[in-house]
Amino acid sequence: MGEKMVLKGKTKAKGRAEGEALVSEMPLSWAPCSILNNGIIKMVGNPVSGQNVKGKIVVYPTVTGSTSGAFGLLFKVKGSHNGPAGIICQAVHTIDVSGAIASQIPAVDGLDADPLKAIKSGDWVTIEADDYGNPAKVTVTPKG
């Protein structure tokens, strides 16, 4: 087990969550054609295609594509119950801000380290994002 790392960031949607990290180096869309309602990523050309987001802390640069990613995220969390536990981006786009708020999961960006480099798939990640004014806390425990 590697050493725990604590990062500070900005709260883009309030909440607390923990889970295993799934890191996509390419932008993601929560639209149901890109991440299916069963939680499986289907994006030809993206190395994480085929993996499942369910219960994960999903880390990606920012949104791509459809505005329907907003209710796509909502449906996966509250409708089919195959959604992520929380999201961390380099920049959380407002499409995903609204999706996360409606889904009642935390969304964080502006970390003091690039999340795509600091977090690896399989790491255990805890998010504490309690209000918009104060820094969000992200704790990363590297995979053993």
Binding site: S34, G65, T67, S68, F71, G79, S98
Partner: protein
């Protein structure tokens, strides 16, 4: 956030539970994005939706994209969109032309996909539900052409990214690529938090494109060329807002439509300052609101960059064309007329489907003036209220077919589903429909695709590396 008296009353429930629910959502979002106030919208554009599909059916997992979770509470309350007569609410193309469910050879009834009856019924109920709420049933990704007419300086909440870019770039309307949760709330409440593209200082350009003279001298009146130019711009935009110099002095609506559709898959901020064309951006200085900063990157584009898009937007491994898809974004009547003239007297190849998609007003014009008959007599299909992609995104059609298109957006949105895509000019598309094969004729020498890598088609820029839609 500072609210007006009426907005506060809506939030407090004084104007009913629907407005309260909408305002709660808008206020929470406004707080998250740091908005200081709401603005009144004059135009809201949402997405179609199914209603009443059994939640235990496999079709529910395919065709319910999440709209239901947002809309069901409002349907239960019998809610209407804002009664403010200055607010027009429209919706995007959805699953099918509702009076033509049985028609064969259409995107919803063909050799790759046959829409289940339950889905058709749920789509019909969804169309009805939006209409009953007070949505203008545009079922168009270009509602600004024939259905709704927001004006320069108006605020809008537009879920259709390509329409959002046309509104910002050509009409001078202010809109984000609005979250598909917030737009239906805005439709009920008539307002939206002032954030992003609604704030003037966020609309300033951050990169300059200099187009070589040869672009305006050689680009032809073909959506393919304009879409290729849009693609060449989006490819290098990297989520910055472009100011584009040396545009042709005049821009037809069809050209502007094809050009601005690049924003949908290419840029998160749906705005191009086309210098001399975009309202408020008569000069580069105007676009920047005064002095042009010295450190802004300048990108020089030549005709070779436009031509390169024809080559890069190509993932088909053979020259066989199974579907010729025209109308992304939906065709204007003048474009249908152009297609009808080109296909008149010819026959579509027996193994190829020609799909011509448009909005409802243009569809009926084409019926009235004979263009639709010419296209159908040739073996093509013309339809309205829908876009091919809505079904292809919902259900796996397999990957053993090739689609030819003159839309950059279509390539980027649907290109990741697995089938082969060929980007082509209008004459090349007509030829492909008739012969069943793609032949490269747009440029002086046929394009060579042997060195092109497949899926993802464009590997040099991260922004291009994944599919996206709407």
């Amino acid at each position: 956030m500072k609210l007006t008296k009426y907005e506060q009353e809506m939030l407090d429930g004084a104007h009913g539970p629907a407005k309260q629910l909408a305002m709660e959502g808008l206020a929470a979002f406004g707080e998250a994005v740091g908005a200081e106030e709401m603005v009144k919208v004059s135009f809201v554009h949402f997405i179609g939706c199914v209603k009443g599909l059994s939640k235990t059916s496999p079709e529910y997992q395919q065709f319910e994209w999440g709209q239901g979770l947002v809309m069901e509470p409002f349907w239960e309350m019998g809610s209407k969109v804002s009664s403010d007569p200055n607010v027009v609410c429209t919706c995007d193309p959805f699953l099918l032309q509702i009076d033509a469910y049985e028609k064969e050879g259409t995107p919803w009834n063909n050799k790759y996909f046959k829409m289940p009856k339950t889905v058709y019924e749920a789509a019909r109920e969804g169309y009805k539900a939006l209409h009953e709420m007070g949505y203008l049933p545009s079922y168009s990704c270009t509602p600004h052409f024939n259905s709704a007419f927001p004006m320069h300086g108006d605020y809008a909440a537009c879920d259709e990214s390509s329409a959002a870019c046309y509104l910002n770039t050509i009409l001078g309307v202010k809109t984000n690529r609005e979250s598909a949760i917030m737009a239906p709330y805005a439709a009920i409440a008539g307002c939206i938090p002032k954030y992003g593209m609604l704030i003037d200082e966020n609309r300033l350009p951050t990169v300059i494109y200099e187009l070589a003279d040869e672009i305006k001298n050689n680009i032809v009146d073909d959506p393919g060329d304009w879409a290729a130019l849009g693609g060449a711009i989006a490819k290098r935009a990297n989520n910055r807002i472009p100011a584009v110099l040396n545009m042709p002095a005049r821009l037809r609506p069809s050209a502007g439509k094809a050009l601005t559709a690049c924003a949908s898959p290419g840029m998160n901020d749906p705005l191009l300052h086309l210098i001399g064309i975009t309202p408020g951006s008569k000069t580069l200085e105007d676009a920047f609101g005064g002095k042009v900063p010295k450190d802004v990157e300048r990108i020089h584009l030549t005709l070779a960059d436009v031509k390169a898009m024809y080559q890069e937007l190509h993932t088909a491994r053979t020259d066989k064309v199974d579907i010729v898809h025209m109308g992304c974004p939906l065709l204007l009547y003048e474009e249908i007329h152009q297609i009808a003239q080109a296909i008149e007297g010819k026959k579509v190849h027996k193994d190829t489907m020609l799909w011509v998609q448009t909005d409802t007003p243009s569809y009926y014009m084409a019926q009235h003036y004979g263009d639709a008959k010419i296209i159908e007599d040739a073996g093509g299909k013309i339809y309205h209220q829908t876009c091919w992609g809505m079904n292809a995104l919902s259900v796996d059609w397999g990957s053993d077919f090739n689609v030819a298109t003159n839309s950059f957006k279509q390539f980027k949105i649907f290109g990741g589903l697995g089938h082969g895509v060929i980007f082509a000019s209008l004459p090349e598309l007509i030829n492909a429909a008739v012969t069943g094969k793609y032949v490269s004729t747009r440029w002086e020498k046929p394009l060579d695709f042997t060195g092109v890598s497949y899926h993802p088609a464009v590997e040099d820029v991260d922004e291009f590396l994944r599919p996206a839609w709407a």
